[in-house]
Subunit: 256 residues, 2 copies
Amino acid sequence: MTKRVLCARLPRPGHPEPLPETESEHVTRVLRLRDGDVLEALDGQGHAAKVTLRIRGGAPRLEFLESKAAEASGVLPLTLEMAILKAEAMEWVVEKAVELGVRTLVPLITAHTVVQVKNKGPEAFRERWQKIADQSLKQCGRLERLEIQTPIALENWIAQNPGKKDCPRLWCDEAGRGGKQGAVDLAHWLFENGAHLQQCRLLIGPEGGWSDLERQLLESGQEFAPIKVSLGPYVLRGETAALYAVSLVIATLRQI
Amino acid sequence: MTKRVLCARLPRPGHPEPLPETESEHVTRVLRLRDGDVLEALDGQGHAAKVTLRIRGGAPRLEFLESKAAEASGVLPLTLEMAILKAEAMEWVVEKAVELGVRTLVPLITAHTVVQVKNKGPEAFRERWQKIADQSLKQCGRLERLEIQTPIALENWIAQNPGKKDCPRLWCDEAGRGGKQGAVDLAHWLFENGAHLQQCRLLIGPEGGWSDLERQLLESGQEFAPIKVSLGPYVLRGETAALYAVSLVIATLRQI
């Protein structure tokens, strides 16, 4: 397996870059690399280079070895608007969103969100999830970081990011199970509309579902209202809903 | 949320059924139900009834209250042939396979399987996974149990279950990433062939990938050879590969 390290800037010929402190432990303890070992450095923005690790004779640093040919990006214009789930489930969604190719993840605070974001502050949560995303990036060989936004209340997010004509918001609603309440099956919707889909937002609710107020907010007052989609006949856990929906949307965007 | 219990036989009018011992703790401690509470009983074979829990005046039992109208089954003719992953990842696949509608799960022992099945014996593993599957069943409202088979070595399973014309085996191969080695993108294959798909097998490898011998076994000597499919540009973890592929196949089978 290719061993990878993430750094803000890639080294250039004759210009080594210091190994970021956050990566030192990963490189020495997890990857068990030594002075002179070769690995792949990623800048998280789509570029990669083969580099040599230098530990002796100064601070740990990366020396340029050779460029890596640019690869077609596997990251797709999908924003996952995800109600915050309990710790393990949310971390799992973050890890899988990286592997599957989601571009941006927006953690949403909703009426039925159980996790208390206020205690540690939203930025602490963002940092923790970004760290998990970056580990997943190195593991799966993705070149661009998953952008994780700071947790935000649903109503604020929707006010700042209303519906757009060319970027439909697919609203996964457990009350629409089996096509109730005007929901359309997600797979069916993608089959009908997928060929014209340029970019997309997926809105996934918390374990406890959406509140009545949230439904009103989402259903009214927007020029381009969300498209209510159903994910099949069963009650899915939040993380299962996210992964099923992301898989279908990503597969559709990859076909285009 | 509907509270559910799983029992081998549903009670009939005037004929209560004893509450299975394995369900007692779930009912009293997890669901916190008391004598006289109403819940839904499932037989795991597609039938359900509204029942009353009786704890006082004898052994815990379920009394028939009313029948539940038969629902269309959401379980689809998909067999997930899954190389055994490490504990948590495998349990997670089992739970999600129930939610998504997989019919049968076959845990496979492969050359690169890390988990030592021999120590506790394959049947102990099957029982543990079946228990997790049954919990997931009650949570998501699925009526038919996910059938989990006893772990079996890949070569034995393939010998006993060779390729069939009307049930393609989709072989997810990490070496076929991005269409290498003759692999076809799974989403593309489903788009082209999904309309005629009656039933399907999905074969997913372990973290360490397939061995050369296993590749030979899968590529040769069968009248209906597996179809080698790719799951996109990245190296997916075993459980991510399973869930992505299951999602796409299930969505396709549901459209038919």
